[in-house]
Symmetry: C2
Subunit: 458 residues, 2 copies
Amino acid sequence: MTKRKKIFLEEHEMPRQWYNIAADLPGTLNPPLGPDGNPIGPEMLAPVFPMNLIEQEVSSERWIDIPEKVLEMLAIWRPAPLVRAYALEEALGTPARIYYKNESVSPAGSHKPNTAVAQAYYNKEFGIKKLTTETGAGQWGSALSFACSLLGLECKVFMVRVSFDQKPFRKMMMEAWGGTCIPSPSDQTQAGRNVLAEFPDTPGSLGIAISEAIEAAVTDPTGETRYSLGSVLNHVMLHQTIIGLEAKKQLKKINEKLPDVIIGCAGGGSNFAGISFPFIQDKINGAEMEIIAVEPASCPTLTKAPFAYDHGDIAKMTPLLAMNSLGHGFIPPPIHAGGLRYHGMSPLVSHAVKEGLVTPQALHQLECYEAGVIFARSEGIIPAPETNHAIASVIREANKAKEEGKEKVILFNFSGHGLMDLVGYDKYFNGELKDHNLSPEDYEKFTAVLKNHPSPIL
Amino acid sequence: MTKRKKIFLEEHEMPRQWYNIAADLPGTLNPPLGPDGNPIGPEMLAPVFPMNLIEQEVSSERWIDIPEKVLEMLAIWRPAPLVRAYALEEALGTPARIYYKNESVSPAGSHKPNTAVAQAYYNKEFGIKKLTTETGAGQWGSALSFACSLLGLECKVFMVRVSFDQKPFRKMMMEAWGGTCIPSPSDQTQAGRNVLAEFPDTPGSLGIAISEAIEAAVTDPTGETRYSLGSVLNHVMLHQTIIGLEAKKQLKKINEKLPDVIIGCAGGGSNFAGISFPFIQDKINGAEMEIIAVEPASCPTLTKAPFAYDHGDIAKMTPLLAMNSLGHGFIPPPIHAGGLRYHGMSPLVSHAVKEGLVTPQALHQLECYEAGVIFARSEGIIPAPETNHAIASVIREANKAKEEGKEKVILFNFSGHGLMDLVGYDKYFNGELKDHNLSPEDYEKFTAVLKNHPSPIL
């Protein structure tokens, strides 16, 4: 055992502060706008989020303390191991040194609990008794149920009906943690009843589920319910930076240099932000590194969509956010990486791309599944379909390093395992999956809404 | 963060030798017998297992070196964390200090890969190209597929048809690692064809699947196929002792005393042996501790069955092993802890019980699910239904410590997570599960075969 595969940190070495990239990003951040096109104030968000999280959402402080109780909950699975992928390197015959941050070790199997425990904590501190949220593939709903169970909060998850029917195990997982999971649209909200009246057989959508979850929160007469979102927003990115902060400590522990390349997949942007933001700080300060956000070619938010003001949901219940967006009505093809099928993108990630700090990349799903299988059969862990996008990009970079004969250091975020998503692999092996491109017609159709907003395309 | 939840070992602190309890057990171990009632020699096992594993099976050396390559594969997830269950202690209000060894962090989600990587390695060293095995609930088949993928061995798994149909995700998991999984009985073996001819609609059984897997190994004309078993045998227990050896180092690292109570669930005995055998050595040498093997009341091998010679499979293809057995024809009720539904028990574990070193305990499944839910909602990890048996026993001991006002140290093996077994929880919440007892009539009926063997009940 001359090779050391895993680099652990002890619990006392866990970062004590999150990194807020808003303090360092060049250029001016565009504020969220209300329906009238004017910037919204914190008080307008108060029915939806607790004020302590709203403060984080708009904060420009560089470092924000992680509360002791949050650290305690994170310690259930953190610090997460940093792993040197020797077997993958060998399989590829690359001179690159490949490291991955293994976020699949959380009880819910992905990076999502990093922000779930923080959000549940701040809500509880604020006197909130119950959280509502939506979930598509089920990762976020599971993570929030997990977090609420640790703090004794109620949790209600509106799950897109088609996923609810196809993935019964995700519901069971939420229930094991005491959460409630109902298919959306439901008859529990006006938004849901309206949709059901018109389309009784609808498969549902993330947009409808968000509308129901927000309505369920803001209409609770006790005032003790709030809504929780698992990606996109600034405070979610903030909570995920513990990933990159730990990785930086771990690389230092083995005297490894800063990575030449950092890679994460990007749907709403949270796992990508988690691994990359603490290193983008170094890049802003002069360090040379390539930082790649990988998205599906079928939902090319960062590579194709304009940077514009748009709503986060189809029902336009959220404020207008400045971000890359394919239009809030965009319906991505049914690829098997549910977590990457989102029309928009974190405003902070979008801004970092606009400023040239991050290189976006769009990959097709067949290449990604092929990469996932190579990883599973060398490193031993079956990746989530979303994570396969990062791995496919890593393999491209490792092969490039081989061609160039360079000893590059590549770091990527292993955002989740695939044990709850094996159907995608089955279809891949059976040749039932295909690649999808965004057609120029769809692009025109869906992005047209961006021109109708009170604030023009930026 | 004054509380330290997880105790890690670095990779260089991983044990370099397995502990062979056969060297220390008091009394005389009864050798396996052939069909004629005489002890079998190693050569009789040669068509089934490679000679290097047969040597381990019969070894009386106390310490056996772990090969470097096996350590490298184990390092994918080992050393496994030892975790102080603060939140569970608080939920129970117990003065006991509860620790668990988290074996769910392996890529297959349980302790099974500990022996899978070792067995795959020794087979490859011996020139074997392909392994066959059977699987019931799917844990072992997944683990062996995982191990074979790391070493480039072929892996064929005969999965009990009813599980194959009910748990399609287990098959997909094996295939992601390149294994082949077919429902048993199949038309690929004479044993399978015989059963199908008579009972075309049979749900299959572990006994039939074992027969098919052994036949597929021994009839391969190239001679390059062997059979692999995931529990019961001595070399399997040996490979699992890394669990307890690590736990001992971890307790020492925080200056904790030897545990007062050690608990593991027991089906074939391997995860129980893994956590307990290294501590039983201390008990043999005079240390005082209670070591509890927990089994389901519906399959009470250690608490009710006689210690006798019996076959490991229904088709009587295995040698006669000296063990606690309910009779090789025993069909346990359909409880949701598939890994604990076995008529026999590891001969080494059975012997340790006979010598008074281990206290067996039989629990009902409703109490176990209740315990699992308490654990999931405090410690945050959803346990496998098998592991719930250990947790239920821990809760009993923790409550006893509370009544007695004693600061006991309790150690248990968290043998696997329940993410692939959520249906059991769903049925539990819906009130669809019930407790099962072994009826006196069934006991008489199934144990009758034990009197027909060439060697009498011991």
